[in-house]
Amino acid sequence: MTSPAKSPNLERDLAQLLGRDRVLCTRDALLAWECDGFTVHKSRPRAVVLPESTAEVQAVIKLLHSANVPFVPRGAGTCLSGGPTASGNAVIIDCARMRKVIKISTEDLFAVVQPGVVNLNLTTEVTPYGLHYAPDPSSQSVCTIGGNLAENSGGPHCFKYGMTTDHVLAATIVLPDGEVVHLGSTTGPRTPHGIDVLGLFCGSEGTFGIATEITVRLCRNQQEVRTMLASFDSMSAACRSVGKIISAGLVPAALEILDQATIRAVEASIYRAGYPENAAAVLLVELDGPHEVVVEDAAEIATIFVAHDALKVEEATDPKERKRLWKGRKGAFGAMGRIDTDLYVLDGVVPRTKLEEALEKITEIGQRHRVNLTNVFHAGDGNLHPNISFDGRDKEATARTIAAGHEILQLCMDLGGSITGEHGIGTEKLDHVSMMFEPEDLEVMARVRAVFNPDDLCNPGKVLPQRNACAEVSKWPQMVAKVLDVEDTPQEPESTS
């Protein structure tokens, strides 16, 4: 591969394509793009471009491909695994200005959007028609449909409605060599026959190309939506009532648990939702469907809460009140900034029946590594989000954080779960991938990727470990050293006083 440094006129050529104000190459300002929500790994891009159409993305990619310069797609930078971080002096193709809703079909129930359309904005746009876009990551007011597609994002309501992949019908994709392809179809199910190629693209974390027009399914709003909040004096009681709800055959739209430390951080923030601060855990349940069914299910769930010694149960059907109950959950990650300077959001999955055991062991791991650990998670599908608050300037604390994270993911594996539920591999879990897959499996995945991205120019260094590294059993000390190997080492400013 030619070194990117050998194409000094690249910035000029890019500016010719897009105009100077949509190509950023001020070296210092580029630091703003050096990480996403996973702030442990940082890498400054070589430049950032802001295309506005499929044709512009294609022109940019053709230019970069011919110059052999790697590139990385980026949405709103809310990813939590380093997906849009520019490894290897790559150029970031930022989709923030591709934010047009191209078409809404209220009869065939789909919308065609550009990748930079914010998830919640799509729902806002179709609300007058009694419709919504179902996948709802906690960052939905910021994150983009393009990013959701790349990461196959989940969210609280995915327990009932499925992940992003279940809601994407078709996409126009610019492949890493600049070729434009159309995958899927807007009529009927995505793949009535043949191989579901768009399914492969979903969740490829931006390594298969850049989707520039995405057709997503719109869902009709349910007749009634009811949100319930139950508080418990122990985490295990909250987990047991989740098990009971599911084994009773109920399918709530969402089942979310927040632990005490999270409750307190949220209650101190502008996202305060009135969660009882003395509770060890709160369980947020949302029911939707025809009025009679919701009423019946709510009564049954209330009985389950009582049987599990709930301290308090709140119910809301009024949209304003429901929004209040959800507010704390949606603002939970950001509120962690109140605990320490940096946040490592983990994303492990365990079988639902092992939730209690997993949480107990996670607490034990946290204590052993002396890290500040809190839990907020999608209880319905066993998708845990242990959050470790730490000071990223303290290398030793960062190392302990990473080590604890590694052990937690190992625990999820041991319990029969997975190392990611919805945040993706990115750069964060590169070393954990081989815990989950055999070298043969990884080889197959690498070959699939090579079909889309043969030169590895599109988002290099993500998802799959380097080929020869597959077989190695990763050991956390090496990994910590690698993670700490950031581009520049931050220093504290000197005080004159």
Partner: protein, 417 residues
């Protein structure tokens, strides 16, 4: 360049509150227009943190991104982690300005205007007299025609009102008219630098409403400009001089009222600006006129207004001071009023002090969006509590062809003549 001031170290600590979640992005007017990470609160905080950590090689190169910030504080309202963005931005701007004052004619003109004219009431009055005279003589029209004055500038600045409307309020103590039910409260009124010559009628309405509601009003002669524009421009030292004079001017008063959201916000932050006990005490005395009247209650019923009124939140009132309920509560008491809330009423209008003159293109784009949202609810009148916002909204409503009067909420609280 070594960045080492104490305030920068403090603001550096504040940047650490940000965990990069990005929930601020949709609330940032400049990010909404530009889509550029470095033009978002998260990106700017990141750059300011990097600057303090010594990772920025050429501080001048990140300055345009910081300059493009409106300092509207919408990100503070949206932040789950409670990052005090305004403080970080103001400290960083001050440090950059200290280390390397901006060059060029525009920067020189801004500095001169802010300190030698705006902060000096006598010269400010003279300037407005000159402006008014030149308008009367048709020089403004000529200047626009000859393109000596950019069209955008001409459109932002509404015509200067005649001398009778620019007349300052009499200083000293004003007593409620005879026959008014007296309240046992004396308040002081901060009259502001631009409010007086541009919107003298708002100051007179404020005084009339206070007196009609039975309050005794003190207007100290020695009060000065609040210094907000200087703080935003990275000149906190000059702002401190003004702040200290205001602290002294209002030393005998317990309640200091203002009718200008930008000034009110700046004065409530004297605590931080001055870092003294006096500053803290002064900040605690400051209230927006709507806060005060909503708490005390109106005793004089406002005149009937059978019209549809859209209330728009000034950023430095809703985000800066957290005051959103009070102006609406007061306006609801106007007989006959149909009060409506426009879409995104808490989004910035693009005025932001003198931002619309320094960043005309971006300010115009933000102003257009605001005008569109306001027009949607088909109001007969728009009310907002800040002189800059009044001018910007008025300008953009006119530019988009909608002739809707823009008023200050206090003007609707005037009792019948």
């Amino acid at each position: 360049m070594v960045l080492s001031s104490e305030s920068l170290v403090e603001s550096y600590t504040r940047t650490l509150d940000c965990v990069h979640c990005g929930l601020c992005l949709p609330h940032c007017p400049t990010h909404q227009v530009l889509g550029v990470e470095a033009d978002s609160p998260r990106g700017r905080i990141y750059l300011m943190r990097a600057l303090a950590e010594g990772r920025i090689e050429e501080p001048e190169s990140i300055r345009p991104f910081l300059d493009r910030c409106l300092d509207c504080r919408a990100c503070e309202t949206a932040c789950p982690s409670g990052v005090r963005y305004g403080e970080i931005l103001e400290a960083t701007r001050a440090e950059l300005e200290r280390a390397q004052p901006k060059r060029g004619i525009a920067a020189w003109l801004t500095r001169t205007l802010l300190w030698h004219v705006v902060a000096n009431q006598r010269r400010l009055r003279l300037m407005f007299w000159l402006l008014r005279t030149s308008e009367v003589l048709g020089l403004r029209w000529l200047a626009t025609k000859l393109r000596l004055m950019p069209a955008s500038m001409a459109q932002i600045a509404p015509p200067v009102p005649p001398a009778s409307e620019r007349r300052p309020l009499r200083t000293g103590v004003h007593k409620p008219p005879p026959g008014t039910k007296l309240r046992d409260v004396r308040v002081a009124l901060f009259t502001g630098c631009v409010m007086e010559p541009m919107f003298g009628r708002v100051n007179r309405a404020t005084l009339t409403v206070l007196l009609a509601n039975g309050f005794e009003v003190h207007i100290p002669e020695s009060q000065r400009c609040c210094g907000a524009l200087l703080v935003h421009a990275g000149q906190p030292d000059r702002a401190r001089t003004l702040a200290n004079e205001n602290v002294r001017a209002f030393a005998d008063d317990d309640i200091v009222l203002n009718n200008s959201a930008g000034c009110g916000c700046a004065m409530k932050e004297y605590d931080h600006l001055l870092g003294t006990a006096d500053g803290k005490a002064f900040a605690a005395k400051c209230q927006d006129i709507s806060e005060f009247l909503a708490t005390e209650g109106l005793t004089a019923t406002p005149a009937e207004q059978p019209i549809r009124v859209a209330y728009d939140d000034p950023c430095h009132l809703c985000h800066g001071q957290g005051v959103t309920r009070q102006p609406r509560e007061l306006l609801q008491q106007v007989p006959g009023i149909d009060l409506v809330s426009p879409t995104k009423s808490d989004d910035c209008c693009g005025s932001a002090g003198i931002y619309n003159m320094l960043q005309p293109k971006l300010a115009a784009e933000i102003g257009r969006t605001k005008a569109a949202h306001l027009h949607e609810c088909a109001p007969d009148m728009i009310v907002t509590g800040n002189p800059g916002c009044m001018m910007q909204i008025d300008s953009h409503m006119r530019r988009s062809g909608h002739n809707v009067p823009v008023r200050h909420p206090i003007e609707l609280l005037l009792p019948p003549q």
